[in-house]
């Protein structure tokens, strides 16, 4: 599943420590197949040095790229449970167990609070390696709590989406997370706290049709697959081939659903600018003698 082989334990980064990427481990670009060392990849923000393809990375990788060194994980103890005793070819419980073992994560999203160039932000980042980044009760609940935390502390909120959509094994519970997260975002908006949505490859289904599309600013990484229905389903429905570039970040920008496409290397800087702009307060204008210009001085006497 991973785009390159990691050293065991490499992803088990806890809050304050940084991963040390050893030299000499090689990874292949998932698009062009070019081999580069993990060090090269990492130093290039996990963008392929040969073809600029943005590799799929995990929540901790994003935290390392964006936060100023340290961050504090929030609500890390929340764990999915097999409430419906769902079983297809595999029991949901077993899927959860193997996903936890493989990723050393508790679920498909990690929430953390920290700063970007000293500006505070709460980031909820999804992990595609955990059952396709699917949204179940835990993803919904962690987003809801992250929003509450942001709202109470007046700290901007960001979600980094990377998901195939709702988690079928939680049936209607997963569906209702769309309503839950969107309703919570409406409260955040009402409180005047900005929400940035970063859409990365892939963002589809119920995740796109809820929080991912609701950013005050919708940002996409270049070349990401973003859509509601999956390309395969659409192709089967309309019975013809899909045009080149359909459902890419660039397609969404062109059709008006994304504000900006940002190269991952520039992401921290772009977020800094946005956070600064949202933080800036307008100068207080004092009304005086019917003049609109608040700087007009009135001389007594």
């Amino acid at each position: 599943m991973g785009w390159f082989k990691r050293l065991k334990g490499g992803i088990n980064t806890t809050t304050k420590q940084k991963k040390i990427v050893p030299d000499g481990i090689w990874g292949k670009c998932s698009k062009c197949g070019a081999a580069h060392t993990t060090k090269e990849f990492k130093e290039n923000s996990y963008i392929c040095p040969s073809c600029e393809h943005h590799q799929r990375i995990g929540s901790v990788d994003y935290f390392e790229l964006l936060f100023d060194g340290e961050w504090k994980e929030l609500f890390g103890k929340l764990k999915s449970k097999d409430f419906l005793k769902f079983k297809d070819l595999k029991a949901y419980n077993d899927r959860l167990k193997s996903a936890r073992k493989k990723t050393e994560l508790n679920d498909a999203i990690t929430v953390a609070s920290g700063t970007i160039n000293t500006l505070p932000i709460v980031i909820a980042a999804m992990d595609f390696r955990f059952i396709g980044g699917s949204m179940g009760s835990v993803v919904g609940e962690k987003i809801a709590r992250g929003i509450d935390f942001s709202r109470e502390n007046k700290i901007p909120f960001m979600i980094i989406s990377k998901s195939g959509g709702a988690r079928m094994m939680e049936s209607a519970f997963s569906l209702m997370q769309m309503a839950k997260t969107s309703a919570k975002l409406s409260q955040l908006a009402k409180a005047g706290v900005p929400f940035f949505s970063l859409l990365t490859d892939p963002t589809t289904g119920g995740v796109t049709a809820s929080f991912a599309m609701l950013g005050d600013i919708n940002i996409a990484e270049p070349g990401a697959l973003i859509g509601f229905a999956g390309p395969r389903v659409i192709k089967e429905t309309i019975k013809r081939d899909l045009p080149e570039g359909f459902q890419t970040s660039e397609f969404l920008l062109e059709h008006g659903f994304v504000d900006i496409i940002v190269n991952r290397k520039d992401l921290k800087e772009q977020l800094t600018t946005l956070l600064t702009l949202f933080k800036a307060q307008p100068p207080v204008l004092k009304p005086s003698n019917g003049h609109l210009n608040g700087t007009t001085k009135k001389v007594a006497g």
Binding site: R167, M168, F173, A183, F228
Partner: protein, 316 residues
Amino acid sequence: MVFLEFEKPLESLYEQLETISKVGEKGDVNVDEAINELQAKIKNKREEIYHNLSGWQKVQLSRHPNRPFSLYYIKNMCDQFVELHGDRNFGDDKAIIGGLGSIGGQTIMFIGHQKGVNTKMRQYRNFGMANPEGYRKALRLMKMAERFNYPVVCLIDTPGAYPGLEAEERGQAEAIARNLFEMAQLKVPIVCVVIGEGASGGALGIGLGDRIFMLENTWYSVISPESCSSILWRSWDHKEEAAEALKLTAEHMYKFGLIDGIVKEPLGGAHTFPDETVVILKQHLINQIQELRSLPVEQLIENRIEKFSQMGEFDE
């Protein structure tokens, strides 16, 4: 009448009833007793059939061709109804209808998925699969209801939002997400009822409200059993298993606390007794709206958001 596989035992009873009734019409023989006997038999058979339905059978019933659709309910419930069209931006979606109606002097904004009653109309309605402009029309009408302080009733009946090329171009995901966001804060009561199929985001796109109900023979899930089968079982053959695994019936949904109640259908189902079902649903809506009307707006919105915030099962 159309009989589903598990309804077949009823078919011959109905045929007998018809034959005897015709004999009776000629007036030569008194058939009253025979008719009474047959009707009792039909009633018993109905109880036998409809009281033990599997998840998949409920799915089949929810799609029964004789089942009433949104416009049937609305037109028969309302003293007056004016259908309103268009999202004022792109077009008029035929798979989501809406308009102003009145019940007992109360003006209500009705919105609903709409399926077609015959082959031609099914295509015209796109099988109840809405495009973005359908969700945007719904939102336009809800915002109008808010302005005039009319309650909103949403009737849900869709196999899903339309997975088409143009739907993606016009932002299917954004349209649904926007509705969820706006419906959470709408300053008038919203009552949602699943009257047939409640599939996925396409259903939820008009499904966030103060009270959510399901008619007895309907289903609500994150995915249709067929699609679930094809993805998780990698074949279309496991739809029955998928329907069970998804726990998508009204009973399940109520037990899980994901809906506020089940609206009982007459024995035999809404497809057998559409007009009786209309009366039941109408009374139910009147009661719900009356209750919700008594709440202050701030409280209404807070309760609504809190209700959805509580949905989720996890360990901590």
